[in-house]
């Protein structure tokens, strides 16, 4: 699997994805009102916001599920126009959804390669379309080892795994095939604390391999534990981008709900010495 992921990985810090002036209206409702986003390789950017702030709309634009009315998306500096998630995926953008997107009765290796199966080399693969199961198992095992994600056996049915391990399989699959960035939409929402922890570790391992990660989460402790930068959305726009080092959780939540403006937060920091 690494033969897919490694060669095209961007260098750390390079801007992978930009979105400028994204507008999306539904009738009289403006879901996105000139939203912005910048994402660098090797970082986790958390996108947070109250309900209706436009974070899921923005993410859907980035993964191709929603076509914006105005604005521009740049991938590695090149303008792109996704008409479907498949097109985004072909350009190296993978998305992990909140509900577990796995086929429970199939084994881990099959799930990792679902939709992108490897065929045997030569006649068996070309004419008889035979799958190369040993190679898929090997690659899957090596890849999971690389991510230090521990699983009972690569041939175990996914339904025999815990919830955290199952979501881990979905995350690992996305990361394995993403060449540029992975979007995680509430990846731990369905999981318990310890289970969620396994997935967080996995996301960290994915970032450390040089991929860019966008994390959407309501879970502030998770966001503060994992994110390098936090983008706060409000009323369809980017309110500000902060870091977990500069701001406290309560300041971030106050800005998210509109109780505090970014300027006030900065002034309070200057006067009171922050946290």
């Amino acid at each position: 699997m690494s033969e897919y992921a490694t060669p095209a990985l961007p260098t750390k810090g390079q801007t992978v994805l930009e979105a400028h002036g994204i507008v999306k209206r539904y009738g009289h409702v403006t879901a996105l009102d000139g939203a912005e986003l910048e994402l660098h390789a090797g970082e986790v950017l958390a996108v947070i916001g109250d309900n209706g702030a436009g974070k899921s709309q923005l993410i859907k634009v980035l993964c191709g599920a929603v076509i914006p009315d105005e604005g521009q998306v740049l991938l590695n500096g090149e303008p792109v126009h996704f008409r479907s998630p498949i097109e985004a995926r072909l350009l190296g953008i993978e998305t992990v959804f909140q509900d577990l997107a796995v086929a429970p009765a199939l084994d881990i290796s099959t799930n990792l390669f679902l939709g992108r199966e490897l065929r045997r080399r030569g006649l068996l693969g070309k004419v008889f379309r035979m799958l190369d199961k040993p190679r898929m198992r090997q690659e899957a095992q090596r890849y999971m080892d690389e991510l230090k994600f521990r699983l009972p056996s690569i041939t175990a049915a996914v339904e025999s795994l815990s919830g955290g391990q199952r979501q881990g399989v979905a995350v690992a699959r996305a990361a394995a095939f993403a060449r540029r960035l992975v979007i995680m939409d509430e990846p731990t929402a369905a999981l318990g604390v310890r289970e969620g922890g396994q997935v967080l570790n996995l996301i960290r391992a994915v970032r450390d391999r040089g991929l860019a990660v966008i994390l959407i989460s309501h879970n502030m402790p998770n966001v503060f534990e994992l994110a390098d930068r936090i983008q706060i959305m409000r009323l369809g726009r980017r309110l500000t981008v902060v870091t977990p080092q500069e701001h406290t959780m309560s300041e971030v939540v106050a800005m998210m709900t509109g109780a505090l403006t970014p300027e006030e937060a900065a002034r309070a920091r200057a006067m009171g010495g922050g946290r």
């Binding site: 498949i86 997107a101 199939l106 939709g115 799958l131 049915a157």
Partner: protein
């Protein structure tokens, strides 16, 4: 009673569950137990000639059940496969009897059956209608169509090519028909497709979690249509095999065949909820029904008991599937 004995007794149903959870294994055990019973209590059950008869009697259901298995694996169902095969026999029979070329008639029969699958698949996959209702409707339409085409009555089909599948060669004392050979070859070919190709993996994935299949980029609708098309092509082959078994095109034949094929699929351990089940289990399921019918007849027991025993087995198989699925969640 000692503690350890109590403990192992408590574990016994667990162990039984685990065996039943291995879908095809449970079916195989049932098949072997029934066969052993009949082998010990009659002289003729194990005679090569009798074994050949059992397989010949199972060959139509066994072939149609291959298509039914693939469809049920996608969490669908097909109530019309018997009617599709009957339509095939009637159309091919009429064409040949009206003087058309036998090869052309055979190909037209296969094409017609396959086209029916395209219609069913499109209604189910693209319009998202429930498979149960679509195939129930098609069952009515096709039954009416066969009666209209045949003008209500059965007629003999004596063409050599259409009846070729009934020809036999001898292996020792047993007669092996070409229909049997075709059926076994189809099982091997379709087993290969289901387990060794991406298309097969996708069939299981779609039945397992269609949303996940869509998210990973499997063209779910196209795959579903192809499943119904392929299954219906197999029904066409089943129609050819049926003409070899009985050289007669009868609009009233095969009325229970779709239910029989669903029985075989379920007995073989394929889940009606889709996504899990071994194809060879279906062959075993079809043989269980054949062995029961044949053995009870040899014993001199009213073959009506076969329906009763089959009914119990079907419920047991579904219960085993349900329990193993619940444990998996």
């Amino acid at each position: 009673m000692s503690l350890s004995l109590t403990a192992s007794l408590a574990r016994a149903p667990q162990a039984a569950l685990r065996v039943l959870a291995k879908p095809a294994l449970g079916a195989l055990i049932v098949l072997v137990v029934f066969s052993a019973c009949f082998a010990f209590t009659t002289d003729t059950f194990l005679a090569p000639g009798n074994l050949s008869i059992i397989i010949q009697q199972s060959v139509i259901t066994g072939t149609l059940a291959i298509g039914e298995t693939i469809i049920i694996l996608t969490a669908g169902i097909d109530l019309a496969n018997g009617a599709v095969a009957v339509l095939g026999t009637i159309v091919a029979g009429r064409l040949v009897n009206d003087g058309y070329d036998p090869t052309l008639s055979l190909l037209l029969m296969l094409a017609l059956c396959t086209a029916e699958g395209y219609v069913a698949g499109s209604l189910i996959a693209r319009l998202r209608l429930p498979a149960f209702i679509v195939t129930l409707g098609l069952l009515g339409i096709l039954t009416a169509a066969t009666r209209l085409i045949s003008q209500g009555g059965a007629f003999p089909v004596t063409d050599e090519l259409l009846g070729w599948t009934g020809n036999a060669f001898r292996v020792g004392n047993a007669a092996v028909t070409y229909g049997m050979v075709i059926m076994f070859a189809l099982y091997i070919a379709v087993w290969y497709i289901l387990t060794q190709t991406a298309w097969g993996r996708h069939v299981y994935a779609i039945g397992n979690n269609p949303e996940a299949a869509r998210l990973v980029g499997i063209p779910v609708e196209r795959r579903l249509v192809s499943v119904y098309v392929f299954a219906s092509f197999l029904y066409g082959v089943g129609a050819w095999i049926a003409l070899g078994r009985i050289p007669n095109a009868d609009p009233n034949s095969m009325q229970t065949t779709s239910l029989d094929s669903i029985t075989a699929v379920v007995l073989g351990g394929t889940s009606l909820f889709g996504g899990r089940g071994p194809l060879f289990g279906t062959l075993i399921g079809a043989l269980i029904v054949g062995v029961l019918r044949n053995g009870l007849t040899l014993e001199g027991i009213d073959p009506l008991w076969q329906d009763l025993v089959t009914g119990i087995l079907v419920i047991a198989a579904v219960a085993a599937d349900e329990l193993s699925r619940r444990r998996g969640q």
